[in-house]
């Protein structure tokens, strides 16, 4: 029985993929790539359930650009001949998986939820039509899949897998170079790991009005997120605050959607939240089908009241 191969641009996410591989009852091999010494990365993924770690260190992999990275993954894949290969649904994972699949002439399932093995391949669920529907999809044979972040716990434990260094890696010539990188500023909001998120939608009439939501966020130690129109179309908040299918998938303990109607594109990004609160004027808004608590009413009247009440109750 051939195993599964996993790769992620983050070691933590790779550990989630290891858990998935073990759950499927397969032998799991992990690929680590880079341009320097890979022993730290290798150590991080040397956890229970991992049988082999494949390392490729090459100057061509210093920026993990798609071209050389796919070349490297292809070389490991052809050596291991796994049945399945899993990536994280990070932006990098989602640009690598399709290209590798096209090269290997095997199936590709992105954002695969509840992946399971069937007789011939993988079955998984995908949110489609803006999240209005769940498509059950199946591969006919070997496939690569990208798995949403935090869908599985991280594998743990200290294990001693085989470590195989691939020395003869030859990337195809590439014409792409990295000129620079602007990391997200330190201390900048990270909605992905936030415990409480208050999100703004089109119910806000102008950018300045977001101040009332920031007040509420301050009282709750929450971060402010937004729906796509506010980030992509209006630019009121940076793109990294966008919750949704084309933004970030979040899983906070509390999610408060304010003035968000609940386009499924948005719901998709927050439906794993533990508790969901919705505030909207339109009682028929889809968000009310997806909330635990809701208020039908004017956010401009409600938010200051809610902030005042919570401030009092929480003693802030």
């Amino acid at each position: 029985m051939a195993g599964v191969l996993v790769y992620s641009d983050s070691s933590d996410s790779a550990l989630e993929l290891v858990t998935l591989g073990s759950k499927l009852g397969r032998e799991v091999s992990v690929v680590v790539l880079g341009s320097e010494d890979l022993s730290d990365q290798t150590k991080k993924v040397s956890v229970n359930g991992v049988s082999t770690v494949y390392q490729i260190s090459s100057d061509a992999l210093s920026n993990l650009l798609a071209g050389p990275t796919v070349d490297a993954l292809e070389s490991v894949y052809s050596r291991v001949s796994p049945d399945y290969m899993f990536f994280s649904s990070t932006k990098k994972g989602k640009e690598l998986a399709p290209r590798l699949a096209a090269r290997l002439k095997i199936g590709c399932i992105t954002d695969a939820m509840k992946p399971e093995l069937n007789e011939n391949g993988i079955t998984a669920e995908r949110l489609v039509l803006g999240g209005n529907a769940i498509a059950t999809v199946a591969s006919r044979g070997p496939a690569v899949a990208t798995i949403p972040l935090r869908a599985f716990e991280r594998a743990s434990g200290n294990a001693s897998p085989n470590v195989i260094k691939i020395e003869d890696f030859q990337p195809r010539p590439t014409r792409t170079i990295v000129l620079g990188r602007k990391e997200k500023q330190k201390g900048q909001v990270n909605i992905k790991d936030a415990e409480i998120i208050v999100s703004a939608g089109r119910g806000f009439k102008k950018k300045e009005d977001l101040a009332i939501l920031e007040e509420l966020a301050k009282v709750l130690n929450a971060v402010v997120g937004a729906s796509r129109p506010l980030t992509s179309d209006l630019g009121w908040l940076p793109e990294d605050r966008q919750v949704g299918l084309s933004g970030t998938t979040v899983k906070p303990k509390l999610y408060i959607a304010v003035g968000i109607s609940g386009q499924i594109q948005h719901l998709t990004g927050m439906r794993e939240s533990k508790l969901v609160v919705a505030i909207n004027t339109d009682k028929n808004a889809p968000i009310f089908q997806e909330c635990d608590y809701g208020i039908v009413g004017d956010l401009y009247a409600i938010i200051p009241e809610l902030t005042k009440d919570l401030k009092l109750q929480l003693g802030r």
Partner: protein, 274 residues
């Protein structure tokens, strides 16, 4: 085959190919929750939202650098409406690819068909696609098309600059912005934030009808129907269902101050705020 860098005469206009998908407007779908069904009857269609950003970007690049834009759509016959819209937005000519054997294929199959379309078009410097389409959002077509054409892929572009043969792209990645450069030809997938698509004027809509719109099929492209569409798909859609929600759905109405108070109490009781 793709051109090699350097073979392009500098004076030649920039040749841009932009791909889009004609999709069901997911915001207007009627969902029959009781019967776990989606009602597709009379569903509206549109150019996929993110693909509009790709079309808009193609037009902006042309406005700045000059050039010719060929817009390509693989889809059903009624995609003609969307194709005309793309022409009205500023594309110069269109190739609408319709063939029964192309139906119900997976995204890799679509990418393969597009690669054959690009080869038939022949000359190009830049291919633009979106990062994903609003119907299925697989994000597969861009990278797979780049693979089939052996092109560099510059994904998640939030800014594109072309100067001579040099293409510079800001990529909006998970942890920041990466600026990359390569020589054309290349394939770029655009992020939503790259621009605001324009609304064509009435004059533009009228004149779109006069632009070249060719319909191609499997035969025109020399594609064997057994290697595309459902026949060759490596991933199949088995069923569609309506997501179920297990939320409490406790709704407070009435005066803002009362509703807010009830909500605050509920949140405290849940232990959701501390």
């Amino acid at each position: 085959m793709t051109q090699q860098p350097g073979t392009k005469e500098k004076k030649n206009p920039l040749e841009i190919i932009v791909c889009f998908k004609h999709v069901i407007d997911e915001t207007e779908l009627r969902i029959d929750r009781a019967n776990n069904k989606i009602n597709f009857e009379g569903a509206k269609t549109k150019i996929s939202d993110d693909d509009k950003n790709a079309i808009e970007e193609a037009v902006r690049i042309k406005e700045k650098n000059g050039g010719i834009i060929t817009v390509v759509c693989v889809g059903p016959a009624d995609a003609k409406k969307s194709t005309k819209e793309a022409l009205a937005m500023g594309c110069d000519r269109a190739r609408l690819i319709v063939d029964p054997s192309f139906q119900d294929g997976d995204a890799l199959s679509t990418a393969y068909i597009l690669s054959q379309v690009v080869k038939k078009i022949g000359k190009f410097d830049l291919i633009l696609t979106s990062t994903g389409t609003t119907d299925s959002y697989t994000g597969i077509v861009g990278p797979a098309l780049a693979e089939y054409l052996d092109l560099p892929q510059l994904t998640y572009a939030s800014k594109i600059t072309i100067s001579g043969n040099k293409l510079t792209v800001d990529r909006a990645l998970d942890d920041g912005i990466e600026t990359v450069e390569c020589e054309i030809p290349a394939l770029v997938t655009v992020s939503r934030e790259i621009n605001q698509p324009r609304f064509p004027t009435l004059i533009q809509i009228m004149s779109a009808g006069k632009k070249e719109l060719l319909e191609w099929n499997a035969q025109t492209l020399g594609i064997n129907p057994s290697v595309v569409g459902k026949a060759d798909s490596k991933v199949e859609v088995k069923s569609l269902s309506v997501p179920k929600s297990a939320r409490k759905k406790v709704i407070f109405e009435g005066k803002p101050e009362d509703a807010a108070k009830q909500l605050a109490e509920a949140l405290l009781k849940e232990g959701a705020v501390k």
